[in-house]
C-alpha cells in the first residue's frame, strides 16, 4: 500500500508541483484559525539536524523536555518508555568522543512500518513516523526491526496523561516529533529546550528553510546510512 501511495504522491508532485510552487510561498502549511487544519502535506519532509559539536555530555535538557511534554516518567529501566535518550560514542583509536541525542530517526523507508502486521506503524505524508495506537496490538515486531532502538512498549497502566498526548498500556510508542505541536505550528519540545541550539528542526524540502540550506552547506551524516533508510534526523560533526 505504501508503495502505491509513494507513487501517487510522486505523480501528484510532478504534475501539479510547478503550479503549487508558484502559489505556495506565504501559504501556511496549516490553517488553525477555526481550530481546523488541512492535514499533513506530502510537500513537506520534517527533519532535524543535530550539531554534535554543540551537544555536551552533562546536558540532558532535551530528554527532560521530552519527558515533560509527553508525560513520560523519566525512568530509564528496560521497561520505562524513553522517546529520546542521550548516548556517548567514542572512537577507540583516537579517543575522540561525542555526545548526542538518539530517538526515532523518522526514516523515509522505515523498517518498523514494513514489519507491522496491523498497519499501526505508519509514515505520515509529511515524513513523521508514528504508531497509530488505535491499531497497535502490542506485538513489538517494530521494536525489534528498529536499528536505532527508538521504540518503547508501555508495560503498565497509566493515569493522568497529557490530553494532547494519549498513551496507554499494551501499545508501542516512540518520538512523534511532537506531532501535536507541529500541527499547531510549534517546534518539537527537545529542539525548543536545547540551550546550545544543537537541534535544528525544519522542513527538509523547503528551499527557504534554515535546515534545507544547512544540510546543503555543512557535512552531516545519517546514522547507519548503510541501511539506506534515508533518515529525517541527521547529525553534524561526527
Amino acid at each position: 500500500m505504501s508503495d502505491i501511495n509513494t507513487q501517487r504522491r510522486q505523480f501528484i508532485k510532478t504534475s501539479v508541483g510547478a503550479a503549487a510552487i508558484a502559489i505556495a510561498p506565504g501559504m501556511m502549511l496549516y490553517a488553525t484559525a477555526h481550530g481546523k487544519s488541512e492535514g499533513a502535506s506530502s510537500k513537506v519532509r520534517w527533519g532535524m539536524l543535530v550539531d554534535t559539536t554543540q551537544c555536551t555530555p552533562d546536558c540532558n535538557d532535551c530528554v527532560t523536555a521530552c519527558n515533560k511534554e509527553n508525560g513520560l516518567s523519566g525512568g530509564t529501566k528496560a521497561t520505562d518508555s524513553q522517546w529520546i535518550r542521550k548516548i556517548e560514542i567514542k572512537d577507540v583509536r583516537t579517543g575522540v568522543a561525542h555526545s548526542l541525542p538518539m530517538m526515532c530517526q523518522h526514516c523515509e523507508h522505515p523498517p518498523c512500518v514494513d514489519v507491522c502486521p496491523t498497519q499501526a506503524s505508519f509514515k505520515r505524508a509529511d515524513g513523521i513516523v508514528l504508531v497509530d495506537r488505535h491499531l497497535c496490538i502490542g506485538c513489538r515486531y517494530c521494536m525489534m526491526a528498529c536499528p536505532y532502538k527508538a521504540r518503547s512498549f508501555v508495560h503498565e497502566t497509566l493515569e493522568d496523561q497529557n490530553p494532547d498526548v494519549p498513551r496507554g498500556k499494551g501499545t508501542v510508542e516512540a518520538c512523534s516529533l511532537c506531532v501535536h505541536r507541529i500541527d499547531k505550528g510549534q517546534i518539537p519540545a527537545c529542539a525548543e529546550a536545547c540551550k546550545n541550539k544543537a537541534i535544528l528542526f525544519g522542513d527538509l524540502n523547503d528551499a527557504n528553510s534554515e535546515i534545507y540550506k544547512k544540510v546543503r552547506t555543512v557535512a552531516s551524516d545519517q546514522i547507519r546510512a548503510d541501511l539506506q533508510l534515508n533518515t529525517g534526523i541527521r547529525y553534524q560533526g561526527l
Binding site: 481550530g35 481546523k36 487544519s37 505520515r124 505524508a125 488505535h134 493522568d160 496523561q161 490530553p163 500541527d183
Partner: protein, 122 residues
C-alpha cells in the same frame, strides 16, 4: 399512508421510551450546545469520534471542535472534572446503562485540562 402512520407510531413509542424514568440521569457537564444535534449525537457519536480519530492520527487533519478532547472539556462534570469517575458521569453513566465498554480513557485524559494542570502544580 398506513406505512406513515406505523412509522409515526413507532417514533412516538421510542421517544416515549427514551424519556422513561429508568434511563440514566447524566451529569452533562458545562452545558451549552453539543457539536451536533443531540438526538443525532445519541445515535452517532461513536462514528463521529472514530472518523475524527482516523483523520487526525493518520492524516493530521485536526478539527478541535469534534476532537475527543473537546467532548471531555465540555461534558466533564462541574464537580469532579471527569467524564467517567462516577455512576452518573457523562460517558460512563450512559455506557454502563447500555452495557457498552470503551477503552478510550485508558490512554486519553478523562479529565478537564484545567484539573490536570492544577494537579501538576501540587
Amino acid at each position: 399512508m398506513r406505512l406513515l402512520a406505523t412509522l409515526l407510531l413507532c417514533m412516538s413509542f421510542s421517544v416515549a421510551w427514551a424519556t422513561e424514568a429508568n434511563t440514566p440521569k447524566l451529569d452533562i457537564g458545562k452545558g451549552g450546545e453539543c457539536v451536533r444535534d443531540t438526538q443525532w449525537m445519541r445515535k452517532n457519536h461513536m462514528h463521529l469520534l472514530k472518523h475524527q480519530r482516523d483523520e487526525t492520527v493518520r492524516k493530521g487533519v485536526r478539527d478541535e471542535q469534534v476532537s475527543l478532547k473537546n467532548c471531555v472539556e465540555c461534558h466533564a462534570s462541574k464537580s469532579d472534572n471527569s467524564v467517567v469517575a462516577r455512576e452518573d458521569s457523562f460517558c460512563a453513566g450512559c455506557h454502563r446503562y447500555e452495557a457498552v465498554k470503551i477503552d478510550c480513557f485508558e490512554c486519553h485524559a478523562s479529565k478537564r485540562r484545567a484539573a490536570l494542570a492544577k494537579k501538576d502544580e501540587q
